[in-house]
């Protein structure tokens, strides 16, 4: 089920919602989104600025913002916080070395007032790799249990196989509190 199918299932009174997709470089943000849109994911380059995916259905518009995660770009993340309805944070589940770094960056995001109360979906991506950590170990390493001020969900997924992606987005769309 792609994003558009998901959107069709929704009966929302809202006209527009905005989802922000963040995470370290190489986590698979762009791949996840392209996969959800049934696009080819074999030739994806690191995102230098941002990609935006807009989907319209029945008068409802879903805007998904995918921002580059390279260290030099991260300071610009804050330009995108405004009026975010849902935060998707993508993690490379096989990159144990950078898991803590990923958690530290997420912690900073959670402290942002503009993102206060925004539901958090963590995509534990690249589960197709044999050395991928299970979702609960990632939740632990990233200290997700310390979050009290918003709903969060960790979804094991793989942009490569497509597993878990629509389940995650379905949770997100259900938990967004759009005005």
């Amino acid at each position: 089920m792609g994003l558009l199918t998901l959107l069709r299932k929704l009966k929302r009174s809202d006209r527009e919602a905005r989802i922000l997709v963040l995470g370290l470089d190489n986590a698979g943000k762009t791949s996840c989104l392209k996969r959800l849109s049934d696009e080819d994911i074999t030739h994806i380059m690191p995102t230098q600025g941002f990609n935006i995916k807009s989907l319209v259905h029945d008068g409802f518009k879903l805007n998904v913002w995918d921002i580059g995660g390279q260290r030099t770009i991260r300071p610009y993340w804050r330009n995108y916080y405004e009026s975010t309805d849902g935060l998707v944070y993508v993690v490379d589940s096989a990159d144990r070395r950078r898991l803590e770094e990923s958690g530290v960056e997420l912690q900073l995001l959670l402290e942002e007032t503009k993102l206060a109360g925004v539901p958090l979906l963590v995509f534990a991506n690249k589960q197709d790799l044999i050395n991928a950590l299970p979702a609960h170990e990632i939740a632990d390493a990233m200290n997700l249990h310390a979050i009290r001020d918003r709903p969060w969900q960790i979804q094991a997924c793989s942009a490569k196989s497509g597993d878990g992606l629509s389940e995650g987005m379905e949770w997100m769309v259900k938990n967004m509190k759009t005005q």
């Binding site: 530290v104 963590v122 299970p134 609960h136 939740a139 979050i147 969060w152 960790i154």
Partner: protein, 231 residues
């Protein structure tokens, strides 16, 4: 006279503002999120599995109760104890029709109630899904869970149906169970709140220490990376 009234007002206000939290746990598919949706005011018949945390704050008499709904799947259960410090009580839900998993549910229940952070806190066990034809009665579930070996004062088991029809109120048996829990909390409030505060502070301090250590490790790693790039 005025000061007396004023003090009375302050006293009442303080009593009114009692904030407590309760954690809802139990195996996956037991009906935790369904119950939360009912407490919130509208049953959700299309719940999806929880792999994390949701909370809902609801006024119950003079209490402001925050319910934590956690994932129950085998691979997410590990987060439960992280919430034990700050709760005043526990709702433990069992799928009474899933007889194959009662033993698993028993293990999950006991590894929770044996945790010292929950000692003496009220535990409401819900033998859920009594509407299903193959559901075991609350008594049978109690026996399967081995509840006869637990000190009786701090737990209670009720049979019930969390998933109501849309527009219907909460199952009266469940409502009775919840009232028991709130009474237990209210009657022991002073003692409980001292413990909860102390445990919560300890938990926060531990979490802060862990976070600081993580931050320091990440800083060191970044430093090393910078050095390597310069070489």
């Amino acid at each position: 006279m005025f000061t007396l009234l004023h003090n009375l007002y302050k006293y009442c206000k303080k009593r009114r503002e009692r904030e407590v939290s309760i954690v809802i746990i139990g195996l996956d598919n037991a009906g935790k999120s369904t119950l939360l949706s009912v407490l919130k005011g509208a049953v959700d018949h299309s719940v999806t599995p929880t792999w994390g945390f949701t909370s809902e704050t609801i006024a119950e008499g003079r209490h402001k109760v925050t319910y934590f709904d956690l994932g129950g799947g085998k691979k997410i259960r590990g987060i439960w104890p992280r919430y034990f410090s700050e709760v005043y009580g526990v709702i433990y839900i069992v799928d009474s029709a899933d007889t194959d998993r009662l033993a698993e549910s028993k293990d999950a229940l006991f590894s929770s109630i044996d945790d010292s952070r929950l000692a003496g806190k009220p535990i409401l066990i819900v033998a859920n899904k009594q509407d299903l034809p193959n559901a075991q009665s609350a008594d049978a579930v109690a026996l399967s869970l081995g509840l006869d070996t637990v000190r009786k004062s701090s737990y209670r088991i009720v049979g019930g149906v969390a998933r109501t029809l849309p527009g219907s109120p909460i199952d009266p048996n469940l409502a009775k169970g919840m009232r028991w829990m709130m009474d237990m909390i209210q009657n022991n409030f002073e003692e409980l709140s001292v413990r909860v505060q102390k445990q919560t502070e300890e938990q926060r301090a531990l979490e802060k220490k862990e976070a600081d250590e993580r931050r320091a490790r990440v800083e060191k790693m970044r430093e090393e990376r910078r050095r390597q790039q310069e070489l």
